[in-house]
Amino acid sequence: MQRVGVFVCWCGSNIAGTVDVQAVAEALKSEPGVVFSTDYQYMCSQAGQDMIKTAVKEHNLTGIVVCSCSPRMHEATFRKTAAAAGLNPYMVEIANIREQCSWVHKDMATGTEKAIILGKAAVAKVNLNAPLTPGESPVTKRALVIGGGIAGIQTALDIADAGFEVDIVEKNPTIGGKMAQLDKTFPTLDCAACILTPKMVDVAQNEKIRIFSYSEVTDVKGFVGNFDVTIKKNARYVKEEICTGCGACLEKCPMKKIPNEFNLGMDNRTAIYIPFAQAVPKVATIDPTACTMLKKGKCGICSKVCTAGAIDYTQKDEYIEEKYGAIVVATGFNPISMDKFDEFAYSQSKDVITSLEFERLTNAAGPSAGKLLRPSDGKHPHTIVFVQCVGSRCEACAEKGKEYCSKICCMYTAKHAMLTRDKYPDTEVYVFYIDVRTPGKNFDEFYRRAVEEFGVKYIKGMVGKVTPEGDKLKVQASDLIANKQLHIDADLVVLAAAIEPDKSARPLATMLTASMDTNDFFTEAHPKLRPVESPTAGVFLSGACQGPKDIPETVSQAGAAASKVIGLLAKDKLTGNPCVASSDELMCNGCSSCANVCPYGAITYAEKEFRMPDRTTKVRRVAEVNPAVCQGCGACTVACPSGAMDLKGFANLQIMAEVDAICK
């Protein structure tokens, strides 16, 4: 039996508003083991923590129960407090009387009664707690960044800058990501290429950074500090180290009608291609679905024209195994498909385009060399309609669009509208919106300029239908403020498509055992306090894979993720989670049930000698858990028929004591 101290937190009025905290403290006083019980306004404050420390000394406490907010919030805080008071940090249990009590129950009597029961359960558990000491494991001082967009680039540069090796795995032939496709960036209107390409070059030239382009992660094993990752380098049929990126092969390639992904299919590329001039690595790649040599064994022109001799039609996919201490996910986003939005006639008319396509149309390196021309006839559009929130904030139609706000569309639409009016003052520009959301530094000023200085016509309301008619696009819309229907004959309609996480994120999350939300965005360990960490130790989040983000936000998160990685890699040893499984070898049958269900391969078997009570010796096979590999899920504890396997911190007896306390 422990000497337990109970500390009931008011959390201001958050708890005290619906729970009689004094009554809780008083009721728990008479629980077995409890020698001290009190309440205080904010247990997590310095004063509250000091109160715990003093009580530990004065009452010789061996266990602490804090009745407060969720353990997900402050368990770590109070464990530190316990440690500072000279107790083992794992002698602390939290009764969650805020999130799971005071905030969900309205009645004081009900709340108080439940808080007491939750407190009793915590006391019952802490009475069975044992001091735990975390195990140690070494750290591989190298980081892996998955995704080579601006998020991945920034993270990699920052980690490398601190002196650690970084590998970037990018599924496309070049790094750069979505930002490389942009023209100008809001709200400063500097050219995306001008600020991105120097960073790409930095990456290429950094000795600490390796780029695995045209590659993907196929397997992840291990755990924080010790990941074993398999990277598949797709065959690009060009020897990367030899190719100089001269482009001679591109000129001679006879297959010239391949839709160019980089320009979103608005122009063509060759079968052997370099996505864009500033690509990094600047190496050609043969598209095996388009190349006649690879498909039919006929052609081979690129090989003939390549003076460097870089072409290799026999190249095979290569699998590389590497060890990493930390993994950063920077898999980014894509605009959603417009297939389901027939009302905007996207598939019927070439002149209905997405904002990203608009971005390419206005880009000097784009299909129209920066001139804003209609894709259908190459004519100048005189009336342009921008439609916001296409598939965003789409509450009613979850299968069509997304419930969330894509966050970046308001600003880039303002940018597009402003730039159009700036370059082509004779153009009428309409923007249809639900709300204009401009929370960001200089964002609202930017939007106001578009309206006030550049005369963009912002109309609150949604476009109902776009109908191609002759060379016009008939736009039917409603103006909610004027409360009337509008009919606009537009030359070009630009859809601000919602953005969604890249499709590669879901399988990656499974490999990483990192959790995702229902929209396939990676979940952070804590939305406020640990926004760049995944709940899976050693996995960090950078950029739009975690949620819609603009460039400034992405870059700051990228830096934050990098600093977390640096903090991890700077350690020589990691102290693990001590709440791991362990087997009582006297009870263990060696039957392998536990190892069969262990997701981490943490359990091995050994033949051990046992001295029996009758003084004979018997050799038996028993399970052994590697505490550095075990993540403490507890699957093995239930698979074990003899109950030999138990989980520290969540032991059978502890959980049953909680059950008993709750049910009594």
Binding site: S70, D517, A639, L647
Partner: protein
């Protein structure tokens, strides 16, 4: 005046990563559900031993619900898949023994589904309340 209304006792085992966080989110969003639900935090739904469930019934629980991450989302990759098989087997056995199947439930609640958590608990409490007291798996010695 309110007559002594029957209040069931519900034990909810919630995995730390998704469902417990989902319950926290329900709290954050002030989504009400009956105080009859008492949550026990476990690292993963695969930590829930059938013995814990029987124990809860023995000690007077009227319903037991196990909540874990959605299939595919387990923090430990596969824990909830094992939990699903185990609970399927156990619940089916309890049903075979004539114990009301409505007293047990397995639900997937993600960390983002505070609303689902509250709704699930409201629904489960209602379902168990309709059944009344657990008589078939009770241990009279534990009666108050």
């Amino acid at each position: 005046m309110q007559v002594n209304e029957y209040k069931p006792l519900i034990v909810a085992f919630c995995c730390n990563w998704c469902s417990y966080a989902g319950a926290d989110l329900a709290g954050n969003n002030r989504l009400n559900y009956p105080a009859d639900v008492k949550i026990i935090r476990v690292p993963c739904s695969c930590r829930v031993n059938p013995m814990f469930i029987l124990r809860a019934f023995q000690r007077g629980a009227d319903g037991v619900i196990i909540c874990g991450c959605h299939p595919g989302d387990c923090h430990y990759t596969s824990g909830n898949y094992y939990a699903r098989r185990r609970m399927t087997a156990l619940f089916s056995m309890l049903d075979y023994l004539g114990i009301e199947r409505e007293r047990t439930r397995l639900e997937w609640v993600s960390a983002a589904e505070g609303a689902k958590f509250a709704a699930t608990m409201n629904d489960f409490v209602q379902q168990v309340t309709a059944l009344g007291e657990n008589k078939r798996l009770e241990d009279l010695r534990c009666k108050k």
